[in-house]
C-alpha cells in the first residue's frame, strides 16, 4: 500500500522555521526597543559628581554674595617689586583665554615678566557656561598647593581640546575631566595621590571663589580681562598693546613716584615676596 502520508516530522519541520522566524523578528524588534530606551535612559542619567554642571549655580551664588568671599589669593609670577602689576582674570575653559595663554603669554613672560618690567597675577574667573572650568580651576589650585600652578596653567590651556569645549562652542568634550587632569598632574611631576585628594575634596574651592569674587568687585564681566596698574583692558590684547600699556604705566609711575600703587588689593600678593623673577603658586 502506497504511503501517501507525509513524513512523520514533516509538519513540524515545515512549521518550525516560520515560527522560529517569527520569534527571531520579535527578538530583533525587542532589541531595537530596548536599545533606544537604554540610550534615552543613559542620556538622561545625571552627570558624574565631577561634572561642572553646577557651574551656573556656583557663579550665581558668587555674583550674589561676592562681598562675603575672603580676600583673593591670585597666582603670581615675577618680581614683586616691579613697577607695574599685570592682573589677569581668566577662565581655563575660555578659548580666547587659551589663545592668549598659548600665543601671547609666552612673549609676555619672556619680555615683560622675566625682564622685571612687571609682576603678574592670575585670578580665576570661571564663567557659568563652561561646565568644566570650575574643575579646571580646582585642578590648578591643587597644583598650586604643590608649587606648580603655572605648569598646570600651561597644561590646562594648551590641552583645552582634551577637556574643554567642543568645536561647536556649546558642548563639552567630556563631563568628567578628572582623568585628563590626573594625566597633567603626572606629566608635571605632582604627587598624584595628594593632588587627587585635594581635587576630590575641592580643598581649594574657597581660593577659587575668592579670586572670582575679586573679579565681581572690579566689575569683570568677560574673560580674559586685564588690569595694568589698575587700568582695565577687557578682552584679549595682543602683545604690542600690553607692552605699550606696561611702558605707559611704568612711565606714569616714574613721573609720580610718590603716588600710591594703584592696584593691588590687600592680601593679593602674599605668595611670592621674592624680589627677583620667579614663578610661584
Amino acid at each position: 500500500m502506497a504511503n501517501n502520508n507525509p513524513p512523520r516530522n514533516a509538519k513540524s519541520a515545515a512549521a518550525k522555521p516560520s515560527s522560529n522566524r517569527g520569534a527571531f523578528y520579535g527578538i530583533l524588534v525587542a532589541i531595537v526597543v530596548v536599545g533606544i530606551a537604554a540610550i534615552l535612559y543613559l542620556k538622561a542619567s545625571p552627570p558624574s559628581a565631577d561634572s561642572g554642571a553646577t557651574a551656573q549655580a556656583a557663579y550665581a551664588a558668587l555674583q550674589r554674595d561676592y562681598a562675603k568671599a575672603g580676600p583673593p589669593r591670585p597666582y603670581v609670577m615675577g618680581d614683586s617689586t616691579a613697577p607695574v602689576v599685570i592682573e589677569e582674570f581668566a577662565d581655563f575653559e575660555c578659548p580666547v583665554c587659551g589663545s592668549y595663554a598659548t600665543v601671547t603669554e609666552p612673549d609676555v613672560r619672556r619680555m615683560i615678566i622675566d625682564t622685571h618690567l612687571a609682576y603678574y597675577k592670575y585670578y580665576d574667573f570661571p564663567l557659568p557656561m563652561h561646565h568644566n572650568t570650575q574643575s579646571a580651576s580646582n585642578a590648578a589650585a591643587c597644583a598650586a598647593d604643590q608649587g606648580k600652578f603655572w605648569e598646570m596653567h600651561d597644561q590646562l590651556f594648551s590641552g583645552q581640546d582634551a577637556w574643554g569645549l567642543n568645536p561647536d562652542g556649546a558642548t563639552q568634550v567630556t563631563d568628567n575631566p578628572k582623568s585628563v587632569f590626573m594625566g597633567y598632574a603626572k606629566a608635571i611631576g605632582l604627587n598624584t595621590s595628594e593632588f587627587e585628594q585635594c581635587y576630590d575634596s575641592k580643598k581649594e574651592q574657597a581660593r577659587v571663589n575668592a579670586n572670582a569674587a575679586e573679579g565681581f568687585r572690579r566689575n569683570v564681566n568677560q574673560t580674559p580681562t586685564f588690569f595694568i596698574n589698575g587700568k582695565m583692558f577687557a578682552g584679549s590684547i595682543p602683545y604690542d598693546v600690553m607692552k605699550k600699556a606696561v611702558d605707559d604705566a611704568a612711565a606714569a609711575k616714574k613721573s609720580a613716584p610718590a603716588a600710591a600703587p594703584a592696584t593691588t588689593p590687600a592680601g593679593t600678593s602674599a605668595v611670592n615676596p621674592a624680589a627677583k623673577p620667579a614663578a610661584s603658586k
Binding site: 522555521p17 527571531f24 532589541i31 540610550i39 552627570p47 561647536d168 558642548t171 568628567n176 585628563v180
Partner: protein
C-alpha cells in the same frame, strides 16, 4: 539559527556603538560610566580612526554584519556558503581591530571603557558563531 544569533548580536552592537557615537557627536553630554574611564578612552586621540570616531566605525561594522547575517537567514540565502565566509571574514577583522583597541586601553591609555568591553564581547561572540557557521556548513540544526 547561527546567523540569527549573529544578527541579534550585531544589532545589540549597533546600539552600543551608537551610544558612544552620539557622545562623540555631542548629542549626549556625558557617558554613564560608573566604573572605568569611558570618557578618558573616548576623548583620547585613539578614539579617532581614519578621520572618523572609532565608535562610528563600530556602528558601520555592526550594521553591515547585521545586514549580511539577516540576508543570510532568508530562505534563498540560507544555504549559501558565501555568507558564512563573509561573516567569518568580517568578524575576524572586527576581532583584530578590537584586540588592538583593547591593547591601547590597557597599556597606552590605561583606562577601560565598559562599553568598549561590551563591544569586544559581542564581536568575539559573533566571530565564534560565524566560525561555527563555516565549520558546520549546511548541517541541519534545530531551527535552521
Amino acid at each position: 539559527m547561527r546567523r540569527m544569533i549573529i544578527a541579534a548580536l550585531a544589532l545589540i552592537g549597533v546600539f552600543v556603538a551608537l551610544y558612544l557615537t552620539l557622545y562623540k557627536m555631542g548629542v549626549i553630554g556625558h557617558l554613564a560610566c560608573g566604573l572605568g574611564g569611558c570618557e578618558r578612552v573616548n576623548t583620547s586621540k585613539w578614539a579617532i580612526f581614519a578621520g572618523a570616531p572609532v565608535a562610528a566605525w563600530g556602528v558601520a561594522f555592526y550594521t553591515a554584519t547585521f545586514v549580511v547575517a539577516l540576508v543570510g537567514t532568508s530562505p534563498s540565502w540560507i544555504d549559501r556558503r558565501e555568507i558564512a565566509y563573509l561573516l567569518a571574514g568580517m568578524s575576524f577583522v572586527g576581532v583584530a581591530f578590537t584586540a588592538w583597541l583593547t591593547y591601547l586601553e590597557l597599556f597606552v591609555i590605561e583606562a577601560i571603557c565598559k562599553y568598549c568591553v561590551t563591544s569586544a564581547v559581542i564581536v568575539t561572540a559573533i566571530f565564534i558563531v560565524s566560525i561555527a557557521d563555516v565549520a558546520m556548513g549546511n548541517r541541519v540544526q534545530p531551527g535552521d
